[in-house]
């Protein structure tokens, strides 16, 4: 394993800042192929087999190892996508025995279809393509290849339409970005249906654009439908950052590559982002506000609307980003609603973020989004999501959190009913903050990188030292909140000047009977927000009714149009799903 990392590090130096997409793609594939030649038939995962077949290396070992692994399939749709890739990159290299075993596995192993969109997209994409390449085979579904393709194609098209009309369900995931790009890459490369192939190519760009506009030095910023305990703090530790490296040559890959999603993307279409997207992902010379409409995952219970609306706002600048949704439980378990993320030159090991949450855990949330019976399900969740029921966790939405954002100001309010499990809110104050000063005015001033951040807690708090070196702002008051104002350090002559300016801003706030804030922001806007009421900016309610699919200087898409325009400089790149066209122009 050490040897692999050494190769990787050398590769990093070789690839360097000027590497091309093709060079980075090859580096990924060679990394996953592992030592060459492979000598141990007991070593190597499906990713290694796929990589070697793609490279046309060690075909005999690939057949042997595949047959070994096919004796005990596991992983459901995560097995399906791996063996689908192997079948397509085989190109005559596998032995007939290995192919027979693979066909047999598709009949004897019954993958669970899963309970969420990435599961379904992986399942159906794999079933579609495997049925396409094996038209006469027998399947675990009991259906013919043609029937499988019909069902799978219908699902894939329906998912695309739903995403275009209402936004992605598992939106902007630091990790799961990969399991959307991967199946789209497969379809774009291997579908023989021209319509589906074109849709997949365009959706690859759509999802990539969605990421690019909220990427800060290769880190996926803003609110996330799903992240995890590590990535919410160490923000570059995500599959999304692997894709930022592959796509935009941002960040670095001097890490163990902890997923194979970017590999499988590379083995299939390996679609290189359009030049406009590269600009969108990397040019932070001018600050901008980016808004997006998304939707909740399927809500089976407690709601009249199956997919609720999610309103995202992200303020992007060279030195920091501020992002949020509207609060509430929009996704189960792994939601991340708001934060400030500051830019750092090398983000490995760095906790470059600040946010507050109410750690919420309940059967209500689990039953809303999942179907199993209630009493055992928490135990089942904890087997794979170990911190879900922890008062110290940093991920997850709360029904008792409401959020508003205007430019680089966020106000988060909490009104937690007595008796709620984990009756406190807590704020994450990183070990990597350069400064932290508590002012007698009530403001807490911090500096992260070249960003200044002012944080006003609405209720008393205490500091707790965290094992990761940071400080936890712990507040056990049920009626609570925080006002957060970020700014570029360069806007002020000194940290003291920033503090003085913030303290001069008009602020009235209360937590009784309901948390409420009236704040004149650093950007000159009057922000009024009362828990449970529509937030006001300069006395006008934020217009959620007409929230765009995408709206920023870089991306524009209106609900109902199924059209996304990408802009960078004079470049215009337009996806029109109504007629499946992609138009490029220079303005």
């Amino acid at each position: 394993m050490k040897a692999i990392f050494a190769v990787l590090l050398i590769g990093a130096a070789v690839a360097g800042a000027q590497s091309t997409f093709e060079e980075r793609k090859m580096r990924l594939i060679r990394y996953h192929a592992g030592p060459n030649p492979q000598t141990n038939p007991k070593y190597g995962h499906l990713a290694a087999i796929a990589s070697k077949l793609w490279l046309r290396q060690d075909a005999e070992w690939c057949s042997q190892r595949l047959r070994e692994l096919l004796k005990d399939p596991s992983g459901d749709m995560f097995w399906m996508f791996a063996v689908t890739a192997i079948r397509y990159v085989d190109r005559g290299q596998l032995t007939e025995e290995a192919r027979v075993d693979l066909r047999k596995a598709w009949k004897t192993y019954f993958p669970y279809r899963g309970d969420t969109e990435n599961h379904w997209l992986l399942y159906y994409t794999s079933l579609y393509l495997s049925s396409q390449i094996e038209p006469g085979a027998s399947w675990f579904t009991g259906k013919t290849s043609k029937e499988n393709m019909q069902e799978a194609g219908d699902y894939i098209r329906s998912w695309i339409d739903l995403t275009l009309d209402k936004g992605q369900g598992e939106y902007d995931c630091t990790h799961y970005l990969g399991v959307y790009l991967l199946p789209l890459s497969y379809l774009a490369a291997w579908s023989e249906d021209a319509d589906l192939k074109q849709r997949a190519k365009m959706m690859t760009e759509y999802i990539t654009a969605d990421f690019a506009a909220e990427s800060l030095n290769g880190i996926f910023v803003g609110s996330h439908a799903r992240t995890d305990d590590r990535q919410v703090l160490e923000k570059s530790w995500g599959v999304s950052s692997e894709f930022a490296w592959l796509f935009f040559n941002q960040g670095n890959l001097d890490m163990p590559i902890h997923s194979s999603y970017s590999l499988y993307y590379s083995l299939a279409s390996a679609q290189e982002p359009h030049e406009a997207l590269k600009g969108i992902a990397t040019d932070r010379s001018k600050p901008y506000v980016h808004r997006e409409r998304k939707r909740t995952r399927n809500r089976w219970r407690y709601n009249d609307e199956k997919n609720g609306k999610v309103y995202k706002t992200t303020y992007m600048s060279a030195n920091y980003a501020v992002g949020s949704d509207q609060g509430g439980v929009l996704q189960p378990i792994q939601q991340h609603s708001w934060d400030v993320t500051w830019a750092v030159p090398n983000s490995r090991g760095v906790h470059n973020t600040l946010f507050t949450t109410h750690p919420y855990s309940s059967g209500y949330e689990l039953q809303m989004y999942f179907t199993p019976m209630p009493d055992y399900f928490l135990d089942e969740v904890l087997r794979s999501k170990k911190t879900y029921d922890s008062p110290d966790k940093w991920i997850g939405g709360s029904p008792f959190e409401k959020i508003m954002q205007d430019l680089d100001t966020v106000i988060a309010l909490y009104d937690i009913p007595p008796g709620t499990r984990f009756p406190h809110i807590h704020g994450f104050f990183s070990k990597d903050l350069a400064k932290l000063e508590e002012d007698k005015s009530g403001w807490i001033f911090v500096q992260g990188g070249d960003a200044y951040i002012a944080y006003f807690p609405l209720a008393p708090y205490e500091w707790k030292k965290m094992e990761n070196g940071g400080r936890e702002l712990f507040s056990p008051h049920l009626k609570n909140g925080a006002i957060v104002q970020a700014a570029n350090a360069s806007e002020f002559a000194s940290f003291a000047e920033f503090q003085a300016k913030i303290k001069s801003l008009r602020l009235t706030q209360t937590v009784s009977p309901t948390p409420s804030v009236d704040f004149q922001s650093l950007r000159g806007h009057r922000l009024q927000f009362t828990y449970g009421k529509a937030p006001l900016v300069d006395s006008k309610p934020i217009d959620y009714e007409h929230w765009p699919m995408f709206d920023s200087p870089f991306l524009e898409g209106e609900p109902g149009t199924r059209r996304l325009e990408m802009r960078y400089g004079r470049m215009r790149h337009v996806l029109d799903f109504n007629n499946l066209t992609v138009q490029d122009s220079i303005q």
Partner: protein, 332 residues
């Protein structure tokens, strides 16, 4: 062990006309995403073992069968509705992508090609043994449907347990009206084999409901201790006075006087976390599956229990299916 063995022999000798099936997974130590082996459907064999035909599947929620050919099963599963025509060996997914995570299934005894499927977003219905499906959920307040039962006494009458109560349809699912347990999450509903007008239903809040007018109106049963989630209800086909309820924290609750008095019967069970109870249709033995422990049987209506295997699981349905003898099978 000896006691269990002789108890089994007694069970096997009496079980000839029915096959005993369990739906569920062996979950102890299992982590989601990993192959959940020996999960799916299980048949209690004549040699006292559990046979596991067909595939491994972590979420087989319920089983019903075609009364004309009891080797044809319909399985409500995470992948939709699965049909097997040879007692579980070969499977075919009958639904498409738009019906996922099925929770319960019911075959209409008046028209066995008509199948109802309880779904997290409503109700599906097929009139051609699962070949094609339509939605039948008009009138449901909230769509989450945990259980669905066809009335064996009245044609076209169907009862559904949903997130927002018990709903009844008199026109094979075209229109549904709220009949009881308003705004209660209903986990099971069952019709008495002795009196088709009598139904019982159980809820997440631990309240059980009774209907004596063929599910048209429902009343809470006041004498029951309100403990926690009640998962299911079972009638003893041999004795109209015996009914059992299974639940979490409640364990096993039984009545022996038709419902006037109820008793906890958990002595001898390792915990009171019970997924499912069922009576043997011929001999009246009571069975209870205890969460991640095993299946227990009782010859004295829960006063004493003995182990019947299937260790470490979550069993979501216990079903007695008429045994198919050679020559019984209907033409395919």
């Amino acid at each position: 062990m000896k006691a269990s063995f002789f108890a089994f022999l007694a069970f096997a000798a009496r079980a000839a006309d029915y096959e005993f099936w369990a739906c569920g997974g062996i979950t102890k130590g299992w982590v989601p995403g990993v192959h959940q082996k020996a999960s799916g459907i299980h048949r209690f064999t004549g040699s006292g073992e559990w046979e596991h035909p067909g595939y491994d599947h972590p979420y087989i929620m319920a089983l019903d069968y075609d009364p004309r050919d009891p080797s044809t099963f319909y399985l409500a599963s995470g992948n939709g509705l699965i049909r097997t025509r040879n007692s579980g060996r070969d499977w075919r997914i009958m639904t498409s992508w738009d019906m996922t995570e099925a929770l319960a299934v019911s075959v209409d005894p008046f028209q066995p090609d008509r199948i109802y499927l309880a779904l997290p977003d409503g109700i599906g219905m097929s009139e051609d043994a699962g070949q094609t499906w339509t939605r039948r959920q008009n009138g449901l307040k909230r769509k989450f449907t945990q259980v669905i039962r066809t009335d064996r006494g009245v044609k076209d009458r169907v009862v559904a347990g949903t997130e927002s109560g018990i709903f009844v349809s008199n026109d094979n699912g075209r229109a549904w009206t709220l009949a009881g347990a308003r705004d209660m999450m209903v986990f099971d509903a069952a019709q008495s084999p002795h009196n088709p007008k009598r139904w019982l239903a159980v809820t997440q809040s631990g309240v059980a409901y009774e209907s004596l007018d063929d599910a048209a109106t429902w009343k809470a049963i006041p004498v029951l201790p309100k403990l926690h989630t009640l998962y299911n209800v079972a009638f003893d086909r041999k004795d109209a006075n015996r009914i059992a309820l299974g639940g979490w924290a409640a364990g096993v609750l039984v009545t022996e006087d038709g419902g006037r008095n109820w008793f906890l019967r958990n002595k001898g069970l390792p915990t009171a976390e019970v997924w499912r109870v069922q009576y043997h249709p011929e001999n009246g033995e009571l069975y209870a599956y205890v969460h991640e422990k095993e299946l227990f049987g009782s010859k004295d209506n829960g006063r004493t229990w003995y182990g019947l295997g299937l260790p470490g699981g979550v069993i979501r349905d216990l079903v007695f299916v008429p045994a198919v003898r050679k020559g019984d099978r209907a033409p395919q």
